[in-house]
């Protein structure tokens, strides 16, 4: 199939999920006629009806809370949170209820709920529209947290998330929504890489770059430039933030002996902290340098005219790579 944008790939994946199981329901603000502010659910209400693609009242806790009830009744809700910054009114329902119900009921109550969140900055938006809150979910036991970085993954991962009997917080790289890639939409889902596997997206021998979501492209761009300078970066798309595929990651770091993590979220207690801590623990004798972390600064996300300096870019990645190589 010709190049498909990520937003469109998600749309196709959701359509497949709706077709595959009549219990799948899409719900959220403006997901119906409008098709979502990013058009990810475009056309789905028209084809599947208002009962299956449901505009909700403007209340995020209500969305997740009723999705939990629907899941208890046997449905598989896929909730859209309009922007990263607007998930917090639902945080209690996600953390205290959605994440815990399976455990609390000793496995009797399944929670096959997907919470889709477009995340990250770089689109020149006003405040609360550019946040990267993934660490605030990844720390919560009972949730699964994933981030897609390209159209092929978007298409399969969203279907895998809907098929999961566990709650999945599904981060979509907002600023890459319109980036295109080719993939085979007819490849059987069962053949796809598992949802929780990391993937080496560019092999290299000198240093491992761990990243996910919108920064995968940035890391790949950096790898190209580095290659010109003679440094081979191995870029790993972590993909799943809870659980993390340590085997793939540590295998890479043991080979390269160096590691840099990259995400948009604030470095302080970001996912990079866990990556750095555990990689160091597991690969201690292989590391030539400490794991270095690239990410947002310890301030709130700034006004958009400054965001390009807040967000890691190719140069910040390369700067960290250079520092690591200098050890």
């Amino acid at each position: 199939m010709a190049g498909v944008a990520i937003a469109r790939a998600l749309n196709m994946g959701l359509r497949k999920a709706l077709e595959a199981d009549s219990k799948v329901i899409i719900m959220g603000e403006d997901v119906g006629k409008l098709g979502g502010v990013f058009r990810v659910t475009d056309g789905l209400q028209k084809d599947f009806g208002e009962d299956r693609v449901m505009d909700t009242p403007l209340a995020e806790s209500g969305i997740i809370g009723t999705a939990i009830g629907l899941a208890m009744r046997g449905y598989r809700p896929v909730c859209e949170i309009q922007f990263d910054g607007f998930v917090f009114p639902a945080y209690d329902q996600i953390v205290n209820q959605l994440a815990k119900l399976h455990y609390r009921s000793q496995g009797l109550v399944k929670m096959p709920v997907v919470v889709r969140i477009p995340f990250g900055g770089g689109i020149g938006a006003v405040e609360h529209h550019s946040e990267s809150p993934e660490a605030l979910f990844a720390h919560v036991a009972g949730l699964k947290v994933v981030a897609c970085s390209n159209a092929a993954d978007a298409y399969t991962m969203v279907q895998q998330a809907v098929a999961s009997d566990d709650p999945v917080v599904f981060f979509e790289p907002k600023r890459r929504y319109w980036e295109r890639a080719e993939f085979d939409a007819n490849a059987p889902l069962a053949d796809a890489v598992p949802l929780h596997a990391a993937r080496v997206v560019r092999p290299g021998r000198d240093i491992t770059v761990l990243t996910y979501g919108p920064m995968v492209k940035t890391a790949l761009d950096a790898a190209k430039v580095a290659a010109e300078e003679g440094h081979e970066l191995e870029v790993v798309d972590v993909r799943s933030l809870t659980p993390i595929d340590w085997d793939t990651i540590c295998d890479s770091v043991r080979r390269t002996g160096r590691c840099v993590t990259v995400h948009e979220a604030q470095v302080f207690l970001g996912v990079g902290a866990e990556l750095a801590a555990r990689v160091t623990e597991r690969c201690f004798y292989s590391l030539e340098a400490p794991v270095l972390r690239v990410g947002g600064y310890a301030t709130p996300y700034p006004p958009s005219r400054m965001e390009e300096h807040f967000l890691p870019d190719l140069d910040r990645v390369l700067e960290a790579v250079d520092r690591s190589l200098a050890y």
Binding site: D51, T56, P57, A59, S61, G62, I64, G65, T66, A67, I68, G69, L70, A71, M72, R73, G74, Y75, P89, D92, Q93, N96, Q97, L101, H102, Y103, R104, S105, Q106, G107, L108, V109, K110, M111, A141, G142, K144, S164, D165, D166, H196, T242, P243, I244, D245, W246
Partner: protein
Amino acid sequence: MVAVSSMDVATSSEFVQLLTPEGQRLENPEYPLEITPEEVRALYRDLALVRRFDVEATALQRQGELGIWAQLLGQEAAQIGSGRALAPGDMVFPTYREHGVAWCRGIPPEKLLELFRGVNFGGWDPGRHNFSLYTIVIGAQTLHATGYAMGMQRDGAEDAVIVYFGDGASSEGDVNEAFIFAASYNAPVVFFLQNNQWAISVPEERQSRIPLFQRAHGFGFPGVRVDGNDVLACLAVTRKALQHAREGQGPFLIEAFTYRMGAHTTSDDPTRYRLASELETWKLRDPIERVKAYLSRGGFADSSFFDSVESEGDELAARVRAACLSMPEPKPIDIFDQPYAGGSPLVDEERATFEHYQAGFAEEGGR
């Protein structure tokens, strides 16, 4: 002209009552109730047994067998009246205090102790009893109930949902969002607010300056206040509300006006914040006494009936106590049991480490 405040209604202290504190039967044309003496006796039995159970659980807590206990004392009529109005297919979402409703759903009372003893988070299968797990985060379950009702609607089921919450809970955003979703989708859900007048130490007036049943009117569905200490009224009003929901008329709010005669939980000390005299007043409105009076006065039951219920209560208490004392202790390794339906490599790894650690520790015999 514009519509103005419904303050006039606000000062009404009336409620639906079908049985006075003195045990006199009243009729209410809106809430007709035909009930046989046998059925009233059955209700009496329910009331007395759940109270006896509650007393025993409280004692078990005092004796250190439970970590904490949330007593239902005083709220038996609200729970049995509403619980007995339910059909088998109806789904219940309780708080942490709905032991009487659990009783009506056929959950063995000893199962309720497991959470409070700390061996699990709820010892019953919600699907089997159509009775969800207890929810401790105030108000959260009202949204689950609404979502579940939306699911029933999609299934074309002729059932309804009932969800319990307190006067304090009515202030949580979630409860109000539940009203909004339920109204918006016309979901078949009955909101059953047990107004026991206290949220721990905070009196009802801090939550609302008008009677709470009126909250519903602002969301566009009916709200009714019922005498929460009158089992017949609670039965009749809940039946009607469930009917309303089943018939596709959407949500309904029942405010059962009652009183928490005990402490908030066994950890609480109500003498710090309320007068003993308040309790004395409410003792006169005891939910069980009035049924006894009705049955006795009408000659529907004699002392042998009451005696038999009492001894049944004592047997229940003994059984519950024995079950509590012989409750199996969870194994430490159970910590790792089922955080995920699909498993998690990290949990598996930690489980293995833990097993290894425990084994090594056992060998060493500890430090």
